[in-house]
Point group: C2
Chain length 338, copies 2
């Protein structure tokens, strides 16, 4: 790969695509040419980036000629169809969709957790689900110290996880509510403002878990390289524009104290401890929005256990940033660095 | 007590006080005279109820003469001071505050769970914390079948739990946000609209648990009459006006299937099962608002366990109604019925 790679972004007009542009700029990512790709619908959209204007091109089989790295963030079916083409053209593909995550020969990477998985790849690397990334960044350092046996997590997920249209609908519902107009329910089909509801992803009829919950379980096991990790999730949408939060209960093989956990997390990469019991300053999605680190707080013993092997914590992280765009760019940086 | 009791409501202008009036009316609660009491600030407020107008009187030591039942919903310090006076005047006191809940000789009652605790009382009965009530109604029927050993719960709590002023501030913040004005932060001191934050109750500096979480643990143990019940809670405010939700993980002494759990909950008093996996119809605070039953759904095996002794569920219940006013009125009804 040339020293100054040519980059393409598939889904450049979406919430994650736009965040990738922001992250590339903020990190001074070295790049030669930039190609913005999207569906027919967004073709011709003009996007200004670092003082240059780019016109969004329609994605096609010929879009990858001369491109070194392609970021895919246009959903699983687009990745399914076009990522293999990009790979066959010699590109490195960093895929934000769920299309290839659980393939045995596709690395699924959170650079703070399993960078070693990047050593051997076939030019296709998957970015995990956003909730999975935020969870893994926060608990991996504790796992290394005391081995996590079980994870029970309940999420507080923002609109951004469902894309720019979902964020716009939540904002519109706020305007509708204030104007005392009927609530717009085109995207979610229900009231979202002043409400919470179970995650809208497809539900497995037999187990009763939705796809978001199943992803958190299976992807975390793959990233941790531990098939025995016991994990259950409850994924819930809350009326927040961006940044997800999670209430996490951990059970360890070995005892671990609150003090040690806090000290481990304070030096952990990608983590910022915000755990002020006196001022009640703890992670909030508003504080995590547009920021890189996963905020971790409310670190305390699991009161339901007396063996010192249980810990509770609360985290918040920007779903578009570390949950998607930043993690993707970090993967590309790590590969470039070799 | 006379057959048609005289009723007083302390805190009549507050969110819970007003809801008590609604509940008394809807249930055709038999009553003679009605006396509305509040602080100096609300004195003189005129409230219309069942076609009659009542003027709010200032609470004082003489307020309880001729009164049979007093509902207290004006905070712990008011209850602490005036409830003993009302009791000494011969009133039955139903107290919504936390003042007496953990006193060994004060019954703490959820009528669907421990009505037997009403048999022997000294005219002072405590209404549990709202989150505790909603949790107990939903899980008690399962406890009776398979004995709950451990509860891990994460809450999604509405503004209403902090009172009418908190609800008004959340609504104001929505208007501020839409108008692109600075967000009003008088009550909570932070942005609530489009945000979530850890419960604002006082935090125990040593354990790191806030009072709301500690109440859920100790009150549930008292109501269940089981000092060994293992329980930990994470209490979080979400931008919802009324009705709390909870994600609950239960561990049982004995195995219990999803099918049996659902069938038990379908016939449980005070519970409505809303658990449609196909249509993704599950409990939401909007659906629980102004309704009596606690909605329970997402009933499924705890995927982190393979022994059939773990269950996960999601519930929503109106915090002002079953979480406070309705539970208080039900207690009075049960005592009147003898």
């Amino acid at each position: 790969m040339s020293k100054v790679p040519c980059i393409a972004i598939v889904g450049a007009t979406g919430a994650v695509g736009r965040e990738i542009l922001t992250v590339l700029s903020q990190r001074d990512f070295p790049l030669g040419n930039l190609r913005l790709l999207a569906s027919h619908r967004s073709m011709g959209t003009v996007i200004s980036w670092r003082g240059t204007t780019y016109t969004v091109e329609k994605l096609g089989e010929e879009s990858f000629d001369g491109v070194d790295i392609v970021f895919f963030s246009a959903g699983a079916s687009i990745s399914q169809r076009y990522a293999p083409i990009a790979v066959s053209r010699g590109c490195l593909v960093v895929d934000n969709s769920s299309a290839f995550r659980m393939n045995i020969d596709t690395p699924l990477v959170v650079p703070e957790v399993n960078p070693h998985a990047l050593v051997d790849h076939s030019r296709l690397i998957a970015v995990p689900n956003c909730s999975t990334i935020l969870l893994c960044v926060a608990i991996w350092p504790l796992h290394q110290r005391a081995k996590i046996k079980r994870i029970l997590v309940s999420t507080y997920q923002a609109a951004s996880g469902a894309g720019a249209i979902a964020m716009a609908e939540l904002a519109q519902q706020a305007r509708d509510w204030v104007a005392e107009e009927p609530i717009t329910k085109q995207f979610f089909g229900r009231q979202y403002i002043f409400n919470v509801f179970c995650h809208e992803s497809k539900m497995d009829q037999s187990s009763g878990y939705n796809n978001e919950e199943l992803k958190m379980a299976e992807e975390t096991r793959k990233i941790f390289g531990n098939e025995c990790l016991e994990i259950a999730a409850t994924c819930v949408r809350v009326p927040v524009l961006r940044a997800h939060s999670q209430a996490v209960y951990l059970t360890f093989e070995n005892p671990i104290s609150v003090e040690e956990s806090r000290s481990i997390l304070k030096r952990a990469p990608g983590v910022e401890v915000l755990d002020d019991r006196e001022k009640n300053q703890h992670p909030e999605p508003i504080l995590a929005s547009h920021e890189d680190p996963v905020l971790v707080g409310r670190i305390r013993q699991d009161l339901s256990r007396s063996d010192g092997k249980g810990l509770a914590l609360f985290l918040a992280g920007d779903q578009l940033r570390k949950g998607a765009a930043l993690n993707a760019v970090q993967i590309a940086e790590a590969v470039l660095k070799g």
